[in-house]
Symmetry: C2
Subunit: 399 residues, 2 copies
Amino acid sequence: MTKFKQITGNIASPKGFKADATHAELKFQKLDLGMILSEVPAAVAGVFTTNKVAAAPVILDKEVVAGGLAQAIITNSAIANAVTGEVGMNNAKKTQRLLADKFNLEPSHVAVCSTGVIGRQLPMDKIALGISKLSAENGHAAGFAQAILTTDLVEKEVAYQVELGGQTVTVAGACKGSGMIHPNMATMLAFITTDANIAQPLLQATLSEIIETTFNQITVDGDTSTNDTVLVLANGMAENAELVADSEDYLTFKSVLATVCQTMAKQIAADGEGATKLIEVTVAGAPDELTARMIAKHIVGSSLVKTAIFGADPNWGRVISAIGQVAPFEVPDIELTIQGDLVLLHSTAVDFDQAELSEKLKEKNVVIEADLNQGDKTGTAWGCDLTYKYVEINALYHS
Amino acid sequence: MTKFKQITGNIASPKGFKADATHAELKFQKLDLGMILSEVPAAVAGVFTTNKVAAAPVILDKEVVAGGLAQAIITNSAIANAVTGEVGMNNAKKTQRLLADKFNLEPSHVAVCSTGVIGRQLPMDKIALGISKLSAENGHAAGFAQAILTTDLVEKEVAYQVELGGQTVTVAGACKGSGMIHPNMATMLAFITTDANIAQPLLQATLSEIIETTFNQITVDGDTSTNDTVLVLANGMAENAELVADSEDYLTFKSVLATVCQTMAKQIAADGEGATKLIEVTVAGAPDELTARMIAKHIVGSSLVKTAIFGADPNWGRVISAIGQVAPFEVPDIELTIQGDLVLLHSTAVDFDQAELSEKLKEKNVVIEADLNQGDKTGTAWGCDLTYKYVEINALYHS
């Protein structure tokens, strides 16, 4: 398999992509409106929230993805445009048209995303003024990753390059937030751009598959937002031969895309509200991958496990109890390691150095591995610890 | 329907029941071993944790319930006797025999319960000494509710009386804990005694039905413990005519039992770890009761809703998002009230006095009512707020 490498870059690194960001006065002074623009219409794939209360832009973007092509994405933070009725839907469409008019695009080729407070209408005069300030040529590409943030503490972006059929293909991503995060703030947005040449149906199938083991395997507080969206734009400008399913080049591209998604997923988990640690849980020995992933996600989402990790407590009883709570079969032979230290064998406690393991749990990355010995399938999930700061962020902010 | 009334009493109030408690030195100085004893073998019904990692006493008690009769319950706190292998199972059986020997009972008529740290073995010398101190005659009945506590702050007991066929029937309950509570501490134990005359199969069916709308509708942190147990003993000493399914007397008895269970469920939710408020969520307008209860429980279990209530924030967006996350159908017409104030109509925000509602949210009891307008079924769930104290209790304690 061709080697791929991480590069320093941003969402505009792939050929033919530009990005910009501006302050549309939705937030007090931070960047709050971002745009991604491709020179040519790109194949677009997307996955969206399963929340039955889907925000207006989510409904609109599903139509864009159904059309198969997109040339731009416009995103605002601060207001989610969710639970906003017909007015909200019209505002999303108006945002789409304003950006299309500004850059001479087909309106149906413009995806619209929003993240922020639920139930408030977008101030369309400010959105219009913001869009008028966006530029394709002198864009502030690095600002895009900042403009999409809400309560996130750090910008999250990643870029990889790989040779496919003699051409350099770049895959880049920028994302925000995890958990319902701020009071009424809506969750996760992830954008991926690539200059790879790949047909839309294959791109969508690839994204849908990758999502299951990356973005769908992170949890901050178990809540699914009204606005969750992942969009991939592939504009083909790398001029590689079109990627064909199951070919070596396709599998390489898929690995790169999966790496980009997993990197962003972990960035989001590590920056969960109030988090001090990234927790990675791997469940092995399951009869199927779905069960392995489900159990791993349940462990990493348990408030009791999360608080124990915050307290650097090697509290394996909570992990075992979390497994037992959701395992669809008996688990009489669990092997459990925390930070590499064996704490349980054949579902029976083993002696370990409590103080030493507690020290290891003070590291920024915590790894929990459980082998159920009920099969050979594995699944991993990522999350963060539950801290005083989480309660503070979510209790003291007033809607 | 015959009126029933709450009385001041304890688990030994029904005719023919005695209870006692002692300090078996499992805890530093609090009561930690409790016993309920009936003069005659009683019909016994039980429901147990669905956690696949069931503790030894849970496995043993399932056998007792399968036998249909029980005359005593022996319960220790501090150690859960969970994930303790064969040694743990033998210790549970030995506890059963020790109590049977002391009071001349059939061992299979003794239920054994434990709650506390997972993975530690019971010190059988202390258990034996403790049992030797228990008395049927001069029992410390009021101490029973104290002896079963772990991190609970308050004792939880309730008693009701009702006339059935000219006889006074008493139903009493004592319970502990909710959520996985303390690090490695196991959850909910609830004991109900009654002198009603009712056959075991009907008692079990009644309990199984009532559980669904009471104990199964509370949540503190979403974790199911390895030791959850609810046991009902009905010794028939009230000498009422045997209760027959669907008769008026039976339905009255069922109402009393449901009231006892609901009262205890709410006591547990209100005393959730770190809780400052009891939250009651009712979902109406659902197509079926199961869905109504499921959505209500999801709302009251949402970390975001729980932190908002802690912060006295009328953050309806989080409630709506929680509904949308689990509703198995579209919800375009939600009506939502918080503390009686309408905040959402036809899924659209209405004007309300934010400051006034925030004041109302400072009360100890918070009521959230959502009408989905998708049917005529209703469900209620109870929980508590998520506070700094919850994080402290669960992070700072070391296993």
